[in-house]
Amino acid sequence: MSNRIIKKLEEDKKLLSIYFTAGYPEIENTVQIIQDLEKNGVDMIEIGLPFSDPLADGPTIQASSTTALQNGMTSEVLFNQLADIRKSVSIPLIIMGYFNPMMQYGVEEFCKKCQEIGIDGLIIPDLPVDVYNEDYRAIFEKYGLLNVFLITPQTSEERIRFIDSVSNGFIYMVSSASVTGSKSGFGNEQTHYFERIAAMNLKNPQIVGFGIKDSETFQQATKTAKGAIIGSAFIKHLTEKGINTISDFTKTIR
């Protein structure tokens, strides 16, 4: 079976992807959140595996990670919760986490587990493309996992081309130089950056993340890009409104 992410990217529509932290707000919420997101028309989900020291994340995701860890979330617990997820959910699922917990689980074991469950891809912000390419690519490919790399407004054209050549799904385009959740709205600088990347005609479509929080930023980001990822804004919704009103959130986006 070919990878669900690749099939989804072939659909003729702009994609809405949502990130949430596994084990937040309560340890048992993982499966319900995934199912509700799919029911409400979300195209793809990033399941955040919490880490004690999330370098690339802003306060909202950090705080949700701290709570999730206090709730007892671990790689093992997450895999157990997701064991039957493919009986009820068919959209692409991506695990987003930092490299250390994956190393401790065993990189190959981790990938194998992902394949068994039906995870389609991984986003590991602190596993650089160079290291992945030399040391881990073969393992990821063996288990049919797409690895998604980030680019930022500061990434050089040469490096973007390299990342494009190593990627085989989509490229995660970080909207601005920032950690997650720290910018409000997109200005000229971002628009130019989105256009500059679009003009490069990369082989992989781009999905924009960081700073997408409402319908306006979603529209701006997907004018040129294939889709957009919402993280902190969704976590805030869970914090404020709980997990039973997910449709109230998704309705405001599109």
Partner: protein, 394 residues
Amino acid sequence: MSYQANEKGYYGEFGGAFIPEMLYPNCEELRQNYVRIMQEESFKKEFDSLLKDYVGRPTPLYFAERLSKKYKTKIYLKREDLCHTGAHKVNNTIGQILMAKKLGKNRIIAETGAGQHGVATATVCALMGIECVVYMGEIDIARQAPNVARMKMLGAEVRPALSGSRTLKDATNEAIRDWINNPVDTHYIIGSVVGPHPYPDMVARFQSVISEEIKWQLQEKEGRENPDFVVACVGGGSNAAGAYYHYLDNEEVGIIAVEAAGHGIHSGESAATSALGKIGIIHGSKTLLMQTPDGQITEPYSISAGLDYPGVGPMHANLFASGRGEFISITDDEAMTAGLLLSKLEGIIPAIESSHAFAIFETRKFKENDIVVVNLSGRGDKDLNTYIDYFKLA
């Protein structure tokens, strides 16, 4: 085999740069330029003259006669405690502020635990008239008030790290996040031989002035460049890296690394990374770190705030794994006792970090004619309250 970093910043299997893409341009700019800049004549001249006239180098290599008599061996102290600001940390901050200037940066950020590195950074920023923001865990701000005041007096802004455990590792996370958010104008002055490549190698090179001086000073005093042993305490590992640097690949010189055991290695309150750590990733470096089986980084403990780091630099991880270094861990009680002893025998009140290094003589025996150089990384002024409370001196 060399114990120095290779081209990619690896010491054996340790090191490298495990950083989010957002940090890549910053680290890459530094990586491409640091060796070249450090070798420029103008850089060397300015670095050397500031170390001499501002820091007060060379620091003495002092033969500790009474201590030697007590332990029946020849003990020399490398007096980094006499550096301006009271510890070796300033060797690195002088080097990095000059590097930042060469790279055209106009804003400096740093992390600090006890505040020693924060003070050393605030000092060089004042010297150069450059904006300075120091991240410090909220809990450390409360327990290190005098150093917070010093940084403020020097014109730095001290920002509390409110995330995670609100101590050094979280202050480091916050500094890294600041760098992600300010990728163009800012240089991050990291305080030890930790973090992504090229930091461990760059900081080790700036600190290497310590062993460079030991070599000629020992030649003057003993007619030989090589001691039998070099001893240093290891938090992140910068004073140790500096003391070992020119001896790393000379196996005639024994290397002894002293870690903080806190209340005891297996007490659950310890910072003895070599004994308790497993290989993993912390702050962008593949190294030994204290963590849960699931890979969450845990909070260390030591009475000395400067040794209270859950990882160790990749150079030291490799010295441990390869057996090149001998690692000894010392409890709070052993360190405090050694600090008091050095004060009474030599008239030198050491930083509690450095006291750990002196405590080994109680159990680690040396031959009578062995020459043992101990790096006295800092002075005890900052720790007076801790000593007073501990020994009920007041």
